[in-house]
Amino acid sequence: MEQFSAIVDRLSAVLGLGKYGLEVLSSYVISLALLGILVWLSARRSKRIAAQLAAVETRVKDKTDG
């Protein structure tokens, strides 16, 4: 915990965030992480479903062709 506080204090000093470093940094980290997870999950699901549809269409086509 002390180590974490030391890191935050050092970062706040480097970035010139003053006494509110933890608040500002945590807001950015949490928000960007949430946005990143949303984009990543959307892209992953999109790719997975597109591949699944291609497989189903091939299967149906093969079945129809005989």
Binding site: Y20, G21, S31, R45, I49, V56
Partner: protein, 271 residues
């Protein structure tokens, strides 16, 4: 060419797939410029210190939380009136984005509120209406998952969306007509700002009674936010909007494909 052509799933997928990479690129550029500018190149506020930098995430996220529900309301009404599947699927696709934006607004608001108000949370009209909006998003997504028949699910979620709109609009206007609580008045009135800029621009072009300087002055008019913070905030807001549109397109395409898979599998089972 009619707007309703995009109710055709194939046409929708073909068009959005073409523009998606561009939209993600524009969103990345706007977000990078807005957030980096805001974080590194704006001064601290004389009262709020460096916590003012939270504005570049909090305000765009709150704006999107409300507007995403507005978009879901429009697409839900289109579904109920015209029965276009793409519009119902677009509403479904938008909900996880809306709930993420609401969560970002709530979390950053609490983090910002603690040092400024001395509390993480207060039962203030705006905060409370946002919490209710968050719960409506949860309920909306749960309802989609709970019903097997997609058309029935679309019908019921559309009705829920209409009901929830009361809270979305309450969240939007709470600070204007509920003069109590801790939350400040709205930071940026984009409607008023845009209207003023457009009006002055046309007055300048047609009447030449105004100088170019007038247009620039209105464009840079200080709202409740100082100009130093306003420009990067505007860029960040643009980034959030474009990211939302890109994600909705991508997620709607996924929903359309999922629907097609289910239809093909049902047809195959029936022989």
């Amino acid at each position: 060419m009619s707007f309703w052509e995009y109710a055709n799933p194939k046409k929708f997928i073909a068009t959005t797939t073409r523009i998606l990479p561009w939209m993600f690129a524009i969103a990345a550029v706007c977000l990078s410029v807005g957030l980096v500018w805001g974080f590194f190149f704006t001064p601290d506020d004389f009262r709020q210190g460096s916590t003012v930098k939270i504005i570049y995430l909090h305000v765009p996220a709150a704006m999107m939380a409300i507007n995403v529900w507005g978009m879901m309301l429009v697409t839900s009404l289109i579904w109920l009136i015209r029965r276009h599947h793409v519009s119902a699927l677009a509403a479904r696709a938008a909900a996880p984005i809306g709930i993420t934006m609401t969560l970002i607004a709530l979390v950053t608001g609490a983090i910002w509120g603690q040092p400024m108000w001395g509390t993480w949370w207060a039962w203030d009209p705006r905060l409370t209406s946002f919490l209710i909006l968050f719960l409506f998003y949860l309920g909306y997504m749960a309802l989609w998952e709970a019903i097997d028949d997609p058309d029935t699910a679309a019908d019921l979620t559309s009705v829920l969306c209409i009901v929830g709109s009361v809270f979305a609009f309450l969240s939007r206007f709470a600070v204007q007509f509920w003069n109590q609580g801790l939350h400040q008045a709205e930071s940026v009135s984009l409607w008023e700002w845009t209207f003023n800029v457009i009006a002055r621009f046309f007055a300048f072009v047609w009447n030449a009674t105004l100088g170019a300087q007038d247009v620039i002055e209105v464009a840079a008019r200080e709202e409740n936010v100082s100009n130093v913070f306003f420009v990067p905030l505007l860029i960040s807001m643009a980034g959030f909007v474009v990211l939302f549109v890109a994600l909705v397109f991508q997620r709607t395409n996924t929903e359309i494909r999922l629907r097609r898979i289910r239809a093909l599998e049902t047809r195959a089972r029936r022989g």
